[in-house]
């Protein structure tokens, strides 16, 4: 049964909730894009520098479209730049996974695979969303995400099924980062309202397809899926790990030091 045909855009999913929901997606893309950009000039090889920089660029482009949309929903006169540069840590609602430090290149790749598969499943689902603008943004972003996953999963297989050293490193990163994946599929009030309005998928169903694809990749990479951890960081509700503040101080420096500066 298709959600779109059963549940019309509901009054229950009002302006405030829609704004929060879109902002979560935007922040997740923005913060991950910013994190990945830290590799520019430091990646293990020129090709990886280009690869990571291009993925970062796609994510920031997606964040711009989503932030602009969020700003229009909010209708308080905030544009993409104001939303990106003039909010404080607790107002950011990205998933805690994407703000985690890059670590070594393998750690970055592990995080990327976990989030790429999530994005791919979510963006593909949005094709059936009752929110037309999300459908349009997702139709564009999903094509980019396919390339991201090709890149990240290719590297994870090489590193996992590589040397003893590379295998140990990515397995350790996977063990460290796994706890942050619980948040991806633990719905809160806004997720439930979004699902009821046909805007967003059921997160439990999404987890099923995510896990299926993740298991395939981990299997090929000879890696072991860690046990699930019940504790959930709610980055999407503004509860962040210590790392986001440092990232923001870097990303927002110019606008904070010279308010309103343009070039």
């Amino acid at each position: 049964m298709s959600r779109a045909s059963v549940v019309p855009v509901s009054v229950d999913f009002a302006q405030t909730e829609r704004f929060r929901y879109v902002l979560r997606l935007a922040d997740t893309s923005l913060i991950l894009g910013q994190r990945l950009s830290e590799w520019v000039g430091h990646a293990p090889a020129l090709e990886e520098d280009l690869g990571v920089a291009n993925i970062s660029l796609d994510l920031i482009g997606q964040a711009r479209m989503l932030l602009s949309y969020a700003g229009e929903i909010e209708a308080a006169g905030r544009d993409e730049d104001q939303l990106a540069y003039l909010r404080d840590q607790n107002d950011f609602c990205n998933l805690a996974l994407v703000e985690q430090p890059n670590g070594d290149f393998g750690c970055t790749i592990v995080r990327q695979v976990l989030i790429d598969v999530w994005q791919l499943e979510l963006l593909s689902w949005f094709d059936a969303s009752t929110d037309q603008r999300l459908r349009e943004i997702a139709a564009k972003a999903v094509k980019e995400t396919r390339y991201h996953l090709r890149y990240s999963s290719g590297w994870l297989v090489r590193l996992g099924d590589g040397t003893e050293e590379s295998h140990t490193r990515v397995q350790t990163s996977l063990n460290d980062l796994w706890k942050f994946t619980t948040e991806l599929f633990t719905p809160d009030e806004i997720d439930r309202l979004a699902e009821n309005a046909g805007v967003a998928p059921n997160l439990n169903v999404l987890r099923g397809s995510w896990l299926h694809r993740i298991d395939e990749i981990l299997n090929e990479a000879t890696l072991t899926r860690p046990d699930d951890v019940p504790y959930v960081w709610f980055g999407k509700r503004g509860e962040h790990t210590e790392y986001l503040g440092h990232l923001l101080s870097d990303m927002q420096y110019l606008q904070r030091a010279y308010p309103g500066v343009t070039w």
């Binding site: 894009g33 280009l50 920089a53 660029l57 796609d58 482009g61 972003a141 090709r150």
Partner: protein, 171 residues
């Protein structure tokens, strides 16, 4: 036989649409200057509010393409100096741009410029043909980097002539 008089008459009846499309055809893509934005397929529509106010619909290739703002400025400039200072530019997101929208002329220009044009489907399957050996090296290419000098390109190497080349990714 087309006489000079006929030619003048043909020029005379150039419609406002044709005129605007002709102006847009002269706007180069900043990353691949041999391609115009019309070759690239990113001009989605030309509409009119009044006779001197065209509305141009542009679509980005990739979400984060850094050339997008530059292209908008170039379009605004080209229209302005050609008599349309009041042109209005809008961003069109849907349907999303696809590399299958690159014109046939555009594909030839890409190849001549040394960039392998995308395989015709939108999925990332199949190998490009080396734009220098022109098919004698069919399939004998290797991927150097999934991502190249711009988001829309990957980097390959031809195993026959050993030259690296850019591949415009199917998208």
């Amino acid at each position: 036989m087309v006489t000079m008089v006929d030619r003048v008459r043909l020029l005379d009846v150039e419609t406002r649409d044709q005129r605007v499309w002709r102006i847009l055809s002269a706007v180069a893509d900043p990353e691949i200057p041999v391609l115009s934005i019309v070759d690239l397929g990113i001009v989605r529509h030309v509409r009119w509010s009044t006779d001197d106010e065209p509305e141009i619909g542009l679509t980005p290739t990739y979400s984060g393409c850094p050339a997008t703002d530059f292209i908008r400025d170039s379009v605004r400039h080209a229209l302005s100096v050609n008599g349309y200072p009041k042109a209005h530019l809008v961003e069109v997101l849907s349907p999303p741009w696809s590399s299958t929208w690159i014109s046939e002329a555009g594909r030839v220009k890409l190849k001549d410029y040394g960039i392998a044009p995308p395989n015709c489907t939108t999925e990332a399957v199949g190998n490009p043909v080396c734009p220098r050996c022109e098919g004698s090296a069919n399939e004998a290419v290797e991927l150097i980097s999934e991502f190249g000098s711009t988001p829309c390109k990957a980097l390959y190497r031809c195993c026959v002539c050993l030259e690296p080349f850019d591949y415009f990714k199917p998208f």
